[in-house]
Symmetry: C2
Subunit: 220 residues, 2 copies
């Protein structure tokens, strides 16, 4: 069992500490995610989650507090898998790094266009009007944050190796992001068909990186 049981309400009244989830609880979160991907927030009712995962509603409330707690747990749970998704960078040579950037671009697009990512983003955005909703920040931290941190890291390294030249790594990353993603993410969030928005992944990624080098590459 997890540390924060009924006995200690704890300061922030959290139910599941970070990542010490029972396998059973992970199963539940998994099927909840599947349910969300399938039918959107409307389909994410406590009854459906319970029946889909062969678990009682009472257990849901015992483990996650309430529906919002469960959703937060879903976000954190999914976020814990994102970090490993982006492969290790390769700064071996200028051209190797450029190739890596293309791979990074493809990876980024794949992640953003993934069913689960889209579903969670839709959920968080749908709740974002409510100021008290922690989902937006949670998603930013768990998804966007880790990728940005990683990217800023290898951009700085590339600059030190004189593959690129810029002032502010963060701003530079945002430009890179803009060149890669454009309005694709929002269009997907709005429900446009994936094949329609993203015909030819690879080519788009390559042009994006080429343009990025036009802006920040070092002349030789």
């Amino acid at each position: 069992m997890q540390s924060a049981s009924v006995s200690e309400p704890q300061g922030t009244s959290e139910f599941v500490r970070d990542e010490d989830l029972t396998p059973r609880q992970q199963e539940v979160l998994e099927s909840a995610l599947a349910l969300l991907v399938e039918g959107g927030e409307k389909a994410l009712t406590t009854a459906k989650i319970a029946s889909a995962s062969n678990c009682s509603k009472e257990s849901l409330y015992k483990w996650f507090g309430d529906r919002d707690g469960l959703i937060s747990a879903m976000m954190a749970f999914q976020g814990s898998k994102v970090g490993a998704a982006v492969g290790q960078e390769d700064l071996g040579s200028a051209s190797a790094f450029k190739n890596y950037l293309v791979r990074f671009a493809c990876e980024l697009l794949s992640v953003l266009a993934g069913d689960t990512s889209l579903a969670l983003n839709r959920l968080a955005i749908g709740q974002a009007s409510n100021d008290a909703s922690p989902l937006g920040p949670l998603l930013i931290e768990n998804g966007r944050g880790v990728i940005e941190a990683k990217a800023v890291g290898f951009l700085r390294s590339a600059e030190q190796k004189n593959y690129l030249t810029f002032d502010d790594a963060r701003q530079t990353y945002h430009v890179l992001y803009g060149l890669i993603v454009r309005d694709v993410h929002v269009r997907l969030l709005l429900g446009e068909r994936r094949e329609f928005v993203m015909k030819n992944f690879e080519r788009d990624a390559q042009t994006a990186i080429a343009q990025f080098y036009q802006l920040y590459g070092v002349e030789e």
Copy 2:
């Protein structure tokens, strides 16, 4: 009154033809939008709309069919105001056009960061998981579509006047969009504070346009 009354169900069973809305109906849509901006989709109940606009629920259903019809009408109504927002382009000289691009960038950011735009996008995105929901396409057509059409237009003109050089105006516009908007839109949709995401409008717009010229500007 509008043409499609109870007498004629019409092919698509639409209730309000495009834009022949009674002033009263416009008032209702206006307060519904205010309600949505205020409290998100959760606050957009038929009862609240009725009471907020001093109108009976019965009238709502008579005019708009059902809740979805009303929301669609809100989108179309708001969309009808977007077109005029973006000022007229100025192709008088190369530098005038560049200045206009900066203005365009600012305008685009203003529109995307507007309360109403954010609220409607959140609403449409929240429903996008439902395949049958027409809100996403509706929003894309009414918002994104008109701006893109306009932009593609003046990009083509600029290319003919030899201010810019490119192959595909559409793709070029998407790059321009990416440079201007980056991940700002999604972050705002997720609920991040406007002041935090968009500190210094003007400067960002100028850098974006400068970078755009690095990619597509003609040398002289």
